[in-house]
Symmetry: C2
Subunit: 205 residues, 2 copies
């Protein structure tokens, strides 16, 4: 399996866990929100990050990779003139392009499908689930009270859709943006992983 | 596999063939555009169809099923006041509800996912493919010249999206309308059937 896999997912659908299990199944790196954000923070826009870079390099998984991004040319094209959000997105995009360049991996969230759309070796998945399933999962995994979980299920999907729309100009829920979209509540997390693997394995045939 | 399966598909994606093979795999009835349209035509709106109904019954697979629809009550609620398109849609919807009531089956096109949305035993699939794949398939299957095939790929998707929007009020390409959406050009027709079967078989676990 020589693909770079991106996963967009509804909050509470288990998309992150599905991505992690998929990465484990193929023995390839897994990059989620936190890893990408941390790597970007350490490079793209916080000048402080450039002081004592060598020390940082020792305690950051992706620092050396992320340092490969050409921050200065980005600045040349107005990097410093961008809003903080745009600078963060640009830095994260560079990290995502860099890890994809490193070889097969699984990347969750962050418009990775859009950022990598020029690559021919990328497979884009979208994971959704029923509101009930997502609320119950949010209560269990994030140990939230039911009303808070229900609120998050609504809010987070809106913010993810807006984030995608803002940066890509496209609709997050447009099925044509993805190679496979799947409901995780019908087959469960492991069953969904099996479905994605079946798709990926048949691609190689 | 006790589900009623609906398949929405882009023109040239092979969705109809995929649906037929899925129905064969489970040994359940397969209903495509032509069958639904014919059954509806024989019942819903063409008065002529009611003359010599018995003869028709002998040469129409779905006639007896379709006759089960309550045309007269439909007329009571203004059936005859509707546009021809709406009357056709209403008649086809009644046929679709009727065949779904009969048990597990595969229904291709005709907003079946929307028409059957109140049922809990329905699984909705959406099949898409790259324009290249669909143009090549259209040239091969419908033996069209390339420019005509390319034109159809554009036109038919627009008309299907408009048809869906007109009758359901929703976007045809909204991934959240489907339990699984899949690109048929990456795994091929048989590989795609295997992916759909994997999903359906895991649902029953």
């Amino acid at each position: 399996m020589e693909k770079v896999i991106t996963i967009a997912r509804q909050y509470g659908s288990g998309g992150r866990e599905i991505g992690r299990k998929l990465a484990e199944a193929y023995g390839i790196p897994f990059y989620d929100n936190e890893i990408i954000s941390r790597a970007a923070k350490e490079t793209g826009f916080a000048e402080a990050a450039f002081e004592g870079a060598e020390d940082k390099a020792t305690n950051s998984l992706l620092y050396s990779i992320a340092m490969g991004m050409n921050v200065y040319s980005s600045m040349d094209v107005g990097f410093s003139g961008l809003s903080l959000d745009d600078r963060i997105f640009l830095a994260q995009s560079n990290v995502i392009r860099k890890v994809a360049e490193e070889g097969p991996c699984v990347i969750v969230g962050k418009c990775a499908d859009y950022i990598l759309k020029e690559r021919s070796d990328v497979v884009n998945f979208f994971i959704s689930a029923s509101p009930d399933f997502r609320i119950r999962r949010s209560i269990r995994i994030d140990s939230l009270p039911e009303n808070k979980a229900a609120e998050l299920v609504l809010k987070k999907d809106k913010s993810r859709a807006n984030y995608y729309k803002y940066h890509s100009g496209e609709r997050w829920d447009n099925t044509l943006n993805y190679h496979m979209s799947i409901r995780s509540d019908l087959c469960g997390i492991d069953g969904t992983v099996t479905c994605l693997k079946t798709f990926l394995d048949h691609m190689d045939k």
